[in-house]
Amino acid sequence: MTDAAAPGKEEVRVGAAPIDWIPIVLTATVALAALPLVGSFSTWVTLTVAGLAMGMMIFIMASGLTLVFGLMDVINFGHGVFISVGAYVSLLVLWPLSGWVNSPSVALNVGVFLLCILLSMAATGLFGWAFERVIVRPVYGQHLKQILVTMGGLIVVEQLIHVFWGPSPITIALPESFRGAIALGPGMVAERYRLIAVAVGLVVLIAMLVILNRTRIGLLVRAGVENPEMVEALGYHIRRLFVGVFVAGSALAGLGGVLWGFYQQTLTAGMGLQVLVLIFIVVIIGGLGSIGGCFIGSLLVALVANYTAFLEPKIALVSNIGLMLIVLLWRPRGLYPVAGH
């Protein structure tokens, strides 16, 4: 749980409000409590690594949504489609460079993986900018229309994916050296790709924390989430800041889409909407607008999903909803409620 404690440390340095440790401890407790239920230690490790990997990916995809909401009170139901677009754009790299994917050279494998990520992030960032202009901008401040229009945008783009890439699911292969599992200890194995996903997630998390806490832009974003009018009154263009965050959030959703696509190894246009449901549960659990809450929420949701899928597959389908209801009973505004929202 050391990575989860990181955002807390940063906040102390800035001298902000004391950190709320209860949700962090709760997540660790859930993970430990699952150990006796699962029974075998090595299975538990496998499940936990899978949960962490899934949680990291969900966090990458959800962080943009929650920041956008915190800054401008915009809830983007179209966010899910950036995930699908990101995953499908990676095909533009994977198909022509299939030789790199199947080559045993680690360098070529990493190269094609990074190319996928770069191209997808660029494409979804650009696409996010256009989406904000065309779909979101005309309906600022009108929640009802916002929900309707962004949902409409999701449907249209999903259908456009069908037009360009065809309606049937597309299977993709992991780069050669990302396949298989490695032994962590006696009897304990973890799939390589899951560890890679955790690593990428950690890099994104650290980069995000550094930008949010150590740079001027990050300061403005955090201030904007707390009190947008005041930031505006001090002479900063909150709108421009917002567009920047929207684009960054879309690019992160695209990155998440690439990671998720490799994780599932099957692409469908509807994958974005499926993940969007998870993302909504995560941001509601975490508290709308809170980055720390989004991170804890992602881990909690993913861990619980993996444990229940092992223990009782039928319950796993509704475990997320159950988790959300329990959290909302305890804290109606989510684990880390953001002031003013």
């Binding site: 409409g152 037009v163 360009f164 499926q274 909504f280 389908l317 109606p332 929202h341």
Partner: protein, 364 residues
């Protein structure tokens, strides 16, 4: 008399009245006016969707909250009737049990969702209903022993409602009055009665409070109306009505499956019907449902043909293939929310109002 039936909520526009009367008579005499099974199917579907869309408008148009779980309640109604009839046999007792349990489950579920998500912000409601509805859809397709999974359920309905049943020996106006027509009138009158009940609800003091909440929830709360309670009740009423629509659809189709009740594209259909007809007027539901269903049944064929014609052109044929129906619905939906938010009914009423003020200005 008419004032009581319509709860003093008139169409308030002459063309609108004309169209509504036409639709009412068309639906009321559909079995005798049209021949063949296709038009009767369309008419029954219009009845079901008028009910479904009006129930949704109660939430979206009158209370100002967005729900993505409307098809879930529709499905609860459909599956309630279907499971009861499939398990207990085609008797009226089984049907009654199915109806009661479906309505109770729908109402309770809506109440729980409302109490959980409407306490904080209305925006939670949209997100949580989306999550719950998608979980429900997965559940319905996974618990195949109970729901028939992706294949759905086929079942028999009580004997009086079957096509083989003859009510009268001789045909009336050239049509045999069989069980199919009795079922049609069951669908029609349930939809009509439920519609009038909802018209009564939105024109009651309770309905006024809902509209006050839509306009300014903070002020409504300050005036002493508990917003959460009112929103939750609205959501329960809407859910029960949606379940009722699901039940009559299940009776009409004698089949219930994910595609007929739970699919996301039905949710989009309902949204589009509400917006095109006009949010915040129940008459809009009638117009929207009728327009869209006729378009779906006849335009989709046209689109398929356009796709055939443009077969040689690669991208164009993909754009116009009949499978891409949802793409055009989505575009139409976005455009109508932007440029046509008042819908057909709102536009017609504004026109009538403009003419009235013009004439009164001329008299002066």
């Amino acid at each position: 008399m008419l004032a009581r039936i319509l709860s003093r909520d008139y169409p308030r526009s002459r063309p609108l009245t004309l169209v509504l009367v036409l639709i009412l008579f068309g639906l009321a005499f559909a079995p005798f006016v049209f021949t063949g099974s296709q038009p009767l199917n369309v008419a029954a579907k219009i009845c079901v969707f008028v009910l479904l869309v009006a129930a949704y408008d109660l939430l979206l148009g009158y209370t100002g909250i967005v729900s993505f779980a409307h098809t879930m309640f529709f499905g609860i109604g459909g599956y309630g009737a279907a499971i009861a009839l499939a398990r207990l046999g085609p008797t009226w007792e089984a049907l009654g049990l199915g109806i009661v349990s479906a309505l109770v489950v729908a109402g309770l579920l809506a109440l729980v969702i409302g109490l959980f998500s409407l306490r904080v912000r209305a925006i939670f409601f949209a997100m949580i209903t989306l999550a719950v509805a998608s979980a429900f859809a997965v559940l319905a397709s996974q618990l195949s022993g109970f729901t028939g999974g992706e294949d759905g359920l086929n079942y028999q309905i009580p004997e009086v409602l079957r096509p083989a049943f003859r009510l009268l020996e001789n045909p009336v106006l050239g049509t045999n009055v069989n069980g199919r027509i009795i079922t049609y009138y069951l669908v029609f009158f349930v939809a009509l009665a439920a519609f009038l009940v909802m018209l009564r609800i939105v024109n009651s003091p309770f309905g006024r409070v809902l509209q006050a909440i839509r306009e300014n929830d903070f002020r409504a709360e300050a005036l002493g109306y508990p917003v959460v309670v009112y929103r939750s009740i609205a959501s329960v009423v809407s859910a029960v009505m949606a379940a009722l629509a699901g039940i009559v659809l299940a009776l009409w189709l004698r089949y219930t499956g994910p595609d007929t009740t739970l699919s996301f594209s039905i949710m989009i259909d309902v949204l589009l019907m509400v917006v095109i007809g006009g949010m915040g007027t129940l008459y809009g539901a009638v117009i929207g449902a009728t327009l869209m269903i006729i378009a779906e049944n006849y335009l989709q064929v046209l689109m398929g043909r356009l796709g055939e014609v443009s077969k040689g052109v690669p991208l164009l044929s993909a754009l116009f293939s009949a499978d891409r129906w949802l793409l055009w619905l989505g575009i139409l939906f976005i455009l109508s929310v932007y440029f046509f938010p008042e819908g057909v009914v709102g536009k017609l009423r504004a026109l009538a109002l403009g003419r009235r003020t013009e004439t009164s200005a001329g008299e002066r």
